[in-house]
């Protein structure tokens, strides 16, 4: 079939536009592909539950070891060297700087290493667990384990020794438990603050303010202006308003999680107000009139009839807000700070997941693997929230459609 010249030009343009439309898809695949490639190796339950900072334990063992011989578990990997006398399996690994270390791969549940006296804290006990790195070990027969000599030698030395004079182990660290906790705290506090304020504002603007009121129109304009404010400006506001405010009413000194939550609350307010108003708009007027006709006051109507029907809208507002809170970084850098913490206290600094990424990327040696692993978590949560919002929106429109 022969095309006319005009048709050819048309097809040519169509092809170019199709190619351009593919750019968005390409970018999305590139971003997801990159973070998954970099971060998926690091993603594990350990990452989510362990501390960011490594802790070092200093212990010893003096006493009767007995004649117990510990069985090597059959499912242990071949690269693990096992000491049947102490019930410990050792393997080699690389630390974050690429140096070889000896890693504890297995500890028998009956092993004496499960409870050793802590040298740094009198009367406390230390438990050697899997994934701890073995530092220096001096046995009672004066043999010494050095991490550079590998796990095989170490396991042999364990088998020859009857006591430990000094043993230093280090937990792996680089976990994000503290940041996950901080993020959850921020989400909960922000919603507790912003949800009532936002929902009540929406109710006022849509249900109580008269449609022609200039004041209501002005208030709505001001709220809408918030959506155009960049997040770093919100951060400055948090630093200039909420940090001094929280410092006077709580024990906080400088940035803290409460000031962060207040700042985030301002950020999500317009989201909550617009979403709730949209939900109120689709509720048919028949509902209100029916309730009023039955003798209910406007207050009763609003809170018992209208608000109940607006719940899907409020739910989608919550989901959108959570997404915004999880992704927010610039505002929190100012309103809270960038110090990564393992122990999360409301009146002190700590980092949300997004700010955690910022902290480890902004330094001289950016840690791409950890940053990508955290990015995967953030992307997954945001993805799920987006899908949920769509489901809720569908439900909302269905309800409105059915009842009108």
């Amino acid at each position: 079939m022969k095309y006319s010249k005009r048709k050819k030009i048309d097809i040519f343009y169509q092809g170019i536009i199709t190619l351009i439309a593919l750019i968005g898809l390409f970018l999305l695949i590139a971003i997801f592909g990159y973070v998954f490639k970099q971060g998926s190796g690091l993603l594990s339950w350990d990452l989510l539950t362990s501390d960011y900072y490594a802790t070092t334990y200093d212990t010893y063992y003096i006493g009767d070891l007995g004649d117990t011989i510990y069985e090597r578990p059959s499912n242990l990997d071949d690269s693990v060297y096992f000491s049947s006398k102490w019930g410990i399996g050792l393997t080699s690994a690389l630390d974050n700087e690429g140096k070889p270390i000896i890693l504890v791969a297995y500890i028998d549940s009956e092993s004496p290493l499960n409870s050793l006296p802590d040298k740094n804290n009198e009367g406390e006990f230390v438990r050697i667990t899997e994934n701890q790195a073995l530092g220096k070990v001096i046995f009672s027969n004066y043999t010494i384990i050095l991490s550079s000599e590998g796990p095989e030698n170490a396991a042999n030395l364990f088998n020859q020794a009857n006591g430990i004079i000094d043993m230093i182990t280090t937990t792996s660290g680089k976990g994000i438990r503290g940041s996950i906790l901080t993020t959850l705290y921020l989400i909960i506090m922000t919603l507790v603050i912003a949800l009532p304020v936002g929902v009540f504002s929406a109710i006022y603007l849509h249900e109580f303010a008269s449609k022609k009121s200039k004041i209501a129109e002005g208030l709505r304009r001001l709220v809408e202006m918030l959506t155009g404010v960049p997040s770093i400006i919100f951060g400055l506001m948090g630093a200039a308003v909420f940090i001094p405010f929280t410092s006077t009413i709580t024990a906080a000194d400088g940035g803290n999680l409460i000031s962060g939550a207040l700042t985030l609350a301002v950020i999500v307010l317009p989201v909550i107000i617009t979403s709730t108003e949209e939900a109120l708009k689709v509720i048919p007027d028949d509902f209100r009139q029916a309730s009023l006709a039955l003798g209910a006051t406007k207050t009763q109507t609003t809170f018992k009839v209208v608000l109940k029907s607006a719940i899907p809208g409020i739910l989608s507002a919550v989901l959108l807000s959570v997404g915004r809170i999880i992704g927010e970084s610039a505002a929190l850098i100012y309103a809270v700070g960038t110090a990564i913490k393992d122990k999360v206290i409301l009146t002190e600094r700590s980092t949300s997941l997004a700010v955690h990424i910022w902290s480890i990327m902004a330094g001289e040696t950016p840690n791409f693997e950890l940053a990508s692993a955290i990015s995967i978590i953030i992307l997954m949560v945001v993805l799920i929230l987006n899908l949920l919002v769509k489901v809720v929106a569908k439900k909302l429109s269905y309800q409105g459609g059915k009842k009108t």
């Binding site: 536009i17 968005g24 970018l27 155009g228 506001m237 307010l269 406007k298 850098i333 100012y334 902004a362």
Partner: protein
């Protein structure tokens, strides 16, 4: 029911209603006024803090010379000289280039999604763009530092140019363009979908080809909505902080129009090197924020003026 009872009941109910409803209305006004007051609070508190570095009453002899601040081409000269002029120029240059890349891509993508595909493919592409829009800026930062800057490094090597590991104006432009494409596209899609189908049918009936119709009728009719998307996208680009800071580098002086050299934007100036939370170096960041707010407001006004002007000829 006899009329007088009814009347009695009616006044009772309305009176009762009126008082409770008045109280509720008054109570609900409080959160509303609070929500609305934040914009004003932002303006007041940031300018209050941002002005303080220039006041001799606050910083004595250390106070910053305002004239040098707004005309300076070096960010910091010890002990107390700050300059922001080149940063404003850099920011405008970068945002202009990002818009230059992002706007055509966005409009064509929107046209493709809204007009040129069957429904299932259209939904698929629109979801793609929506997902892209929901990616937080910190993830764009990681991607920018990990991939975009490497690509720019490769391009620079291709042209025999020097770059600081790809940290450059061009990387910043690419990252920003990626971030505003979804914003502009999504708004353009709704603008294009809102165009009256009869217009297109008329054009087709007059013998115009499909592409001629799309370019000369559809896009022209939708230009007001598309412009709204562009205004939103440019606003976002001006205020974008985290991702930009990660790929901009922090050039000490400028302005730089070299695509491969490090640069500095208003937002990266505010974010990078943030250590102390008091003192001149901290307070001057509020002054930068103040300038950013002014720049955003001016850009918005300018673009809105342009939008009205463009709209008039439709």
């Amino acid at each position: 029911m006899p009329n007088k009872y009814y009347k009695h009941l009616h006044t009772f109910i309305t009176k009762h209603n009126r008082t409770t409803d008045k109280i509720t209305q008054g109570l609900l006004l409080i959160p509303t006024v609070l929500s609305a007051s934040f914009v004003i609070m932002i303006l007041i508190f940031i300018s209050q803090r941002g002005v303080s570095p220039f006041l001799p009453s606050q910083y004595g002899n250390d106070s910053v010379n305002f004239l040098r601040f707004i005309t300076g081409v070096t960010w910091f000269q010890p002990p107390n000289s700050y300059g922001i002029f080149f940063i404003v120029i850099n920011t405008i240059f970068i945002v202009f280039l990002a818009g230059f890349i992002a706007i055509p891509i966005s409009i064509f993508t929107a046209l493709y999604i809204a007009k040129m595909t069957p429904k299932t493919i259209s939904i698929f592409f629109q979801t793609t763009i929506e997902l892209l829009a929901s990616i937080p800026s910190i993830v764009f930062g990681v991607f920018g530092l990990g991939v975009i800057s490497k690509v720019v490094l490769w391009i620079a090597n291709l042209f025999g140019k020097q770059t600081a590991g790809g940290i450059s104006t061009l990387s910043t432009v690419f990252v920003l363009a990626m971030m505003i494409i979804p914003t502009i596209t999504l708004l353009s899609i709704s603008a294009i979908r809102a165009v009256n189908l009869d217009l297109e049918k008329n054009s087709l009936a007059l013998g115009a080809s499909k592409m001629q119709t799309y370019f000369k009728v559809t896009l022209v009719s939708a230009k007001s909505g598309i412009f709204a998307g562009i205004i939103l996208g440019i606003g976002r680009a001006l205020g974008e902080a985290t991702a930009v800071s990660m790929v901009a580098g922090n050039a000490g002086s400028g302005p730089t129009f070299d695509l491969f050299s490090t640069t500095r934007t208003l937002t990266s100036t505010m974010l990078l090197g943030l250590k102390e939370t008091a003192g001149l170096d901290y307070d001057i960041r509020f002054s930068v924020g103040m300038i950013l707010i002014i720049l955003i407001i001016l850009t918005n006004l300018g673009l809105n003026y342009l939008k009205r002007k463009v709209g008039r000829f439709s």
